[in-house]
Each structure stands twice: as structure tokens, then as C-alpha cells.
Amino acid sequence: MRGYEPLWSAGMIRPTRTSEGIAALALALTVTALLLANPAAALAAGSLALFLLWRGWQFEQDLAAAAASLTVAREVDRTILRQGTAATVRVRADVAVPAGMAVRVRDLPPAVAAGDAPLSLPGKAAAYTVRLMAPGETAFCGVVLSASDRFFAASLVCRRFDAPQIRVFPAGVVENGSGTGGAGSDTEVDRRAALAGQGIRGFRPYQMGDDLSRIDWKVTARHDAYYVREPAGLEGGSPLIAVDLPARAGDPETNARFSMAVSGAVEGAINAREGCSLLVVAGGEVVGFLPRTQDIREAFSALGGLAPLEPRAPLYRAPGPAVLAARARVPLRGTGQEAVYRERLGVLLAAFAKESPAPFAAAVRTALGRAEAVEVRLYSLLPPGDRSHLCQIVHEAKVRGMRVVLKAPAGAGALPGIDAVEVL
């Protein structure tokens, strides 16, 4: 959340360097005129001062004309959404720009929104993402018209362009298990859990081709227009992109396709959403992790050109604590010695799962926790050999209830536990 008022509402015109130079010249001529009693110098000084005043007046007239001609078209992908979720705004401003004046327009998001709009040229659409942080009805704060000519510059806040209204529902409140009578201080907002529990991330106006079963009739009746639900699984928060660096350089064409797919996914996620989290692994080693980054250069830097990297910490097909714990919970079957064997195996596995340090799994678990994503997109060439690090990532993600999509070359196989496979 920002404080626009102190920055923009003053609105006074500001002199440029050219104006400051002319003012200094006028001052020097005034001194000359007084010292030498030279009427020509006095005329030069006075006319320069008059010139600045005239240009200032001219600039004000042009600015008023530009402000009067300003029209703004703004679209938000969802006008009803949950607290903390992101909305993509597309805005286009049209201005009749007076001759000799340069104009830029910056959108002002709602006061309760986190995120800034870029400066854009008149007639050009700009898109940006904001995150609404407070519940209730809110509107946009208008636009800032930044105008300048050779002599003056000014920023004018035009607040009449505040449409559309946005309704923000509060994030769910989850009890911490303290039972009945727990005080208010014993509760905390758990955004991810609340969204996962309710399964709806927001509402948006109905568009042609939308599934009719997703129409929310209560919201539709309230607004007298069709609104559809947006399930959390279909449009989650920022995704976690997990990249498994290849151990050695293989087929150049496959490598190129892999690099393009990963780079495109990172770029697309950062441009289209509120950023993405990036987890880069090589065998049983976490090479890099960026939680919810919006800086594309930082993300590409973390990828390190996707150069092959020989794993320095092989896992030797270790299943990881998540799998061990799952196996330890397998219900007892069979009779006699088999039941005894299974019971002992369960105890053994449970002990391993508890005591195993498993630094890779722990690092992945921490990364998944910090990413706050609902979907993991796992990019790997799936080379033959040890894939236990990928299995551990998948299992840790499943433990957290995340959806896992594997992106791998055709015919490379699959991993247990994943939700979908997409061919690179």
C-alpha cells in the first residue's frame, strides 16, 4: 500500500533545466543593468522574466486542455475476489496532446492495493497486476497525468476515473485447534488453507464459452449480470517452477527445447501473473531457490543458463522421508508371519523417516512452504538413472496438497504421484 497524496496532490508546475537556466540568465542581466545602468540589459532581463511567465501560463493552458480531453478505459479481469489475491488491470488513456507537450499517464490502483502501474503513452494500453489487501468495496484512485514541455513539467491527479468498483472478500480465518472459547488472539489467517478449503479463488463476469456450471447464481442475482466462479485449482497464485538441471550435455536439440520451455514458462509466469517461485535442483542438491519473484533478470540469473551440472550429492535412490512415512502407514494385511513382518517393517520405516536427516527433502519442504503455491510445474529431461530427487519433490508437494505437473520430453516416462504430464 502506498501513500500517493504527498507525492502527487501538490500538482504545482515545476521548472525544467531550461527554465532554470533562463532565470539565472535574467538574474545576471539584472545585476548587469543595475551595475552599469544599462537600459538594454534591463530590457533583456525583464523580457526574459516575462518570457518565463508567459511560457508558464501557456503550459497551464495546455495542461488544462489535455486534462479536459482525457478519457480512460480500464478493465479488471475480476471485479469480485478474495483478499490477498491478485488482479490484472488493463488500462488505456486517450489524450489530445497539445503541440510541443509530452504526456504520460500512470494509473492509480485502489488505496488498499499493493502494486504499481507503469507510465504509459496516450493511446497505448498498459497492463499491470495489483493485490488487494483489505476487504470491502474499493475503487481505483484515478490516473496521474504527467505533462512536460521544454520549460515546465507537472503531474496532475485526475480522480474522476475510478471505475470499476472492486469487491474484496475477506480471507478465511482458521482456528488453531484451541477449541471452543479460543480468544481472538488465538486465531490466524491462513490464506492458502482458507482458499484450498473453499476451492473458490474469485468471481468474474461471464464470458462466451465459459462452463455454465461455474455460474454463481447468488453473485449473479446480486449484480444482475452473470458471474462465474474461478476455482482455486484453475487459477491459483503464483506457480512454483521446479527445474531439474541435466547432469550432462545431451542432444542439443532436446536441450534447446528444454531451455526454451523453461525460459518461456518463467517469463510467462512473471509477465502474466504476480510472479513465480523458482526452484533449481541438480540431483540431490538445491542449486537455487527464488520465492515469488517478479524480477525476470533475477529469475534468469538463478537458472544460470540451464547449463548441465553434475550432481554433487547423489541420493542413491533414497525414497525420502515423505515416502517412508507413507509406507510406514500402510495398513496391515495378511496373517501370521506376514503380518508380523509388515508390522516390523512399518516400525523400521517410521524410525528411518523420523531420524533420517534428509537435507534435500528438508530444503525442498522449506522451499515449498515459502513459495505458497498451489501448483508445481516440474521441468526435467528425465534422464535414465536415479530419479529419486524428483520423486522426493513430488512427494513433498503432494504432502502439502499441491498439484504437480511434469513437463518432460516425449517418451521419457513419468514419475509416481504426479497429476499430469505435458510433453516439452
Partner: protein, 95 residues
């Protein structure tokens, strides 16, 4: 760099104006120099008339005209500020 060259030419032009000595020649030179500096002459006659009026006052009253000009500039600046303030209020929806 273009800005520097233009401003240098303006400064040289002002030296010429001061060196002219005669007020009428100085006025003509000043009008030409500022017109060349400005490029876009939209509304320029308004300024030219103001400069000519100031030259006339200067010719009639002498150096004391500078004081009058200072007062006039103060009033002009106040009017400009008021106009700017009203524009900001109108755009902000408060007037």
C-alpha cells in the same frame, strides 16, 4: 547537447542585446533571439506585445521600471499558482 547549444546561442544573443545600446534595436533583437530560441511561435505575439510595453515603460520611467516589473511578475506568479491550484482541485474532483 542540443539544449546546451541552443542555450549558448540564447546567451550570445543576450550579449548582443546588451551591446546594442539603443532600446528600440535591443527590443527588436530580443524578439528575434527569443523567437529563434523558442522555435514554435504559437502565441508569441502576446509575449511580444508584453515585451514592447515593458520597453515603453522602461524608456519613459528609466531603471525604476524594473521594480514595477518585479511587482507585476509577483502578481503574475500568484495568478499562475492560483490557476494551477484550481486546476488540481478540479481534476481531483474537489472543486
Amino acid at each position: 547537447m542540443a539544449f546546451d547549444r541552443r542555450f549558448l546561442l540564447l546567451s550570445l544573443g543576450e550579449v548582443l542585446v546588451v551591446a546594442a545600446g539603443n532600446l528600440a534595436i535591443a527590443l527588436v533583437l530580443q524578439a528575434i533571439v527569443l523567437a529563434a530560441f523558442l522555435g514554435d511561435l504559437r502565441g508569441y505575439p502576446v509575449f511580444a506585445v508584453g515585451a514592447a510595453a515593458f520597453a515603453a515603460v522602461l524608456y519613459a520611467a528609466g531603471m525604476i521600471a524594473l521594480l514595477g516589473l518585479a511587482a507585476a511578475l509577483g502578481c503574475g506568479y500568484a495568478a499562475l499558482t492560483l490557476h494551477d491550484h484550481r486546476l488540481a482541485l478540479r481534476a481531483g474532483g474537489r472543486a
